[in-house]
Structure formats: C-alpha cells, structure tokens
C-alpha cells in the first residue's frame, strides 16, 4: 500500500464497497475487508490533509525559478 496511488486506493475502495453492498462477500471475509477499507480511507485522507515529505523533497529539488 506504500506505493499505491490515491486513484488506485479509491478504485479498490469502490471494489470492496460493491462486494459488501451486494452481499456477495462472505461473512468470514467481512472483518478483513473492513480492515482493508478502513486503512484505505485513512490512506486517502492522509493524502488530503498530511504533507507528503517525498513530494516536498521533490519540489525542493527543482531549482527555484528565477524571478523575471
């Protein structure tokens, strides 16, 4: 999940939702699915609200543009 993108995480979330909603998910798998979904939601929300140090570092690597 470390390398997962937001879009992939959302797609997986929707997949899990569909399985749970249409009742096709086995009750034994439910706890696992819930755990995964909860982790995915948390991951997605962290993308919204938490500064990604990796992105920041990358941006810092670009030499600051010269003022015209």
């Amino acid at each position: 999940m470390k390398k997962m993108t937001y879009t992939q995480a959302m797609a997986r979330l929707e997949e899990i939702m569909a399985l749970v909603q249409n009742g096709k998910m086995d009750i034994d798998e439910l706890a696992g699915a819930l755990k995964e979904a909860s982790a995915l939601v948390q991951f997605c929300r962290s993308r919204l609200f938490t500064v990604d140090e990796e992105v920041k570092a990358l941006l810092d690597e670009i030499s600051p543009e010269v003022v015209e």
Binding site: V20, I27, L30, F49, E65
Partner: protein, 419 residues
Amino acid sequence: MNSADAPFTLYSLNNMVRNILGETLSARYWVTGELSEVRETSAGHCYIELVQRDEAANELVAKARGTVWARIYSLLKPYFLEQTGQPFSAGLKVLLQVKVGFHELYGYTLEVCDIEPAYTVGDLARQRQTVIRRLADEGVINLNKELAFPLLPQRIAVISSSTAAGYGDFCDQLARNRYGFVFYPHLFPSPMQGSGVEQGIISALDRIAANIDMWDVVVIIRGGGATSELSCFDTYDLANNCAQFPLPIITGIGHQRDESVLDVVAHTRAKTPTAAAELLIHSMLEQDACLSGIRLEMTAAVQRKVEWERQRLHSLHHRLPLSAAVFMKDEAARVKMISQNLVANVRNLLQKELYRLELSQKSIEAASPERILAMGYSLTRVNGKLLRSVEEVSAGDEVVTLVADGEIRSVVKEKEKKN
C-alpha cells in the same frame, strides 16, 4: 513670398505646403490604421506612428506620424483602456479622428483629436474569432478540456508573474483553506502582460513538461481586473500550446468582461486567481466528502450484512427441529401407506389366484370321461380305436361300447350315414 524666378528657401516652400494644407484640408477626418509605434513623453504627450498594410502581401502601403497632445491623451488613454481592455499600444488597429497638419521642420503629421474604441474592440474580436476558428478546424480546441481532471489537484504548477498580486492571493487562498487540505504550489514565472506573455508562458509550459509526472494541474493566473490588457492571451501559438498540453490547465487571468482565447482552450476557466484556488479547494472537498460517504456506507453495508446473517442464522436455528419433525412425520406416513398397500395387494393377489385355481379344477372335472359316461354318454371302439364316424366301421365288425359300469361287445349289422 519670393518672386517667381528666385528660388524658395526650404522653409518658405514648407510654409507654402503648410498653408495650402491648412486651407484645403481644414476639417477633421476619421481614419483607420494600425498603431506601429506608441511613445509617451515625460510631458504627457504621445507620439504615434500609424500604418496601413496590404493584408495579402503584408507590405506597408501608407505611413504617417501622429501626435496626441497631453490635454487629449490624458483623457484618451484611460478611456481607450476601459473600453477595449487594451492599453493604447502598438499592434492595435484604431479608428482616429485627426486633423492633417504640416510643420516646416517636422513635416507631415496627424494631430489626434478623438478615438473610437469600438473599432478596436471589433477588430480584436475578429482576430480572436479567426484564431478560435483555426484551432477548431485543426481539432485541438477541446483537447485540454477532454483531459480527466485529477482527483486530488495538489501538485500545482503555477504560471504567473512573481511580482503580481495574483500569485500571492492564490497561494494565500490555498494555504488558508479552512479544511486543512495540503497543496504544493510551485511558481514558474512568466511575464503576464505585454509582448513577452506568449513566449513566457510557452517556455514555462516546456519547463513543466520536463517533469510532467511531478504535477497534477497547471494554473495560469494574473491579478489585475478588468482594466488589464487581454489580447496577449489571444495568440494562436499560446492557445495551441495550452490546448495540447498533457495536464489540465486552469486559467485565472482576471478579466471580467471578455474571455481570452486562452480561456477558451483551457480545461477550466476561473475569473480570478482566488477563484482558481477556490476551485482546487472545492475539488479536494469533493474527495473528502466522497471518502466520508464511503466510510458511512461501508459501515452501513457491513451492519446490513451482519444483520442479514444474524437473521439467516436465527431462522435456520428455528426451522431446523420443526423441519426434522415434519420430515419424520411425512416419512412415517409414507411407510404406513406403503405397508397398508402391500397387505391389500397381497391379499388381492392371493384371492385372484385361488379363484383361478377353482375355475381350472371345475373345468378339469367337467372334462373327465367318467363324468361323461355317468351322464349317459358312451364310447365305442373298433379294433381298439375310438369310433368317431360311420366311415370307420363296416358291417360285421366287432365293436366294444364302453358305458359307466361296463362293456358291451356287439357286431355291426348295418350302418347309415346322416344326410
């Protein structure tokens, strides 16, 4: 005035031209032309050069210098900017009211008295339409619009002038969003007014494209409001570059009245830098709402599933003994029915057989010779063979007749055949 045979001085010749022009062209004339040069003096006057091109050959066919005196220019300049959205500058087509003048030292000049901005507005609109039509004909006009907007437009390549207020407003708006969303704006400076805009923006786009994976979205912004010039965002090359750029472009170039060609090709047009920032914040808000929705729906779905399973279990638990009882009862009834049927069938079968036996015995008894003899019938033999026809005996043959209690020996006297 000099006599006929003496030469004119240059001054006197020019003076004559000036006087004749002054007499014959004394009216004010409306004239169209393109400003090829506009130069303001420190005194507030403005010197212009007006040209006419042969459009097909792109060659100059006429040229004249002109002057707008400070008294007129101080009114004309803001009026023109307000009406056209353009500063009074080179490259524009204008409709001017002029007085034709001639000066002994400076030669032919036009003194500008008035201007009709509607002419310039119309010309710019026409130019813009030409560019838009060309982009449409080439099939590029909607390319940027057709790009999918990123779910999280956080890594923002901003093209703006670092000195302009617009960029500051934009960053402030993003940084102070009340939801706490994280954004990563990064400035790619470019001039945002004047002739350097086209090249400035195109080169900024090139620099963004060099690390295209690092960005979610491009934002082109400029503060300023309705009085800033807009025609620098109307050029074909700029629009073509933006339309074909692989990331969605949001514009916020702060012009309330008109839409520039850049706005037309951009993925999304915001009116101001602040509005552009709001748009990005709103996108994030949508995702946030979507995630909250998923969380709620997930919980609800799980609860539904658990409740459904619980009821299923409950109903199974209750139905099980009942079902077993019903099953056993059914089976018992079936066994009983089968055994009853079996007895009846066997009895029936035996009776039938018995009846059949009795019948056989009777018919056997009925056929016995003793019974037939007892009834008064007799059997006759000749030469030991049973006699059935008169043909089998002749007169004189000895026959033996068998009756119930003995035998009679007799000799045939005669025989007679019936019929």
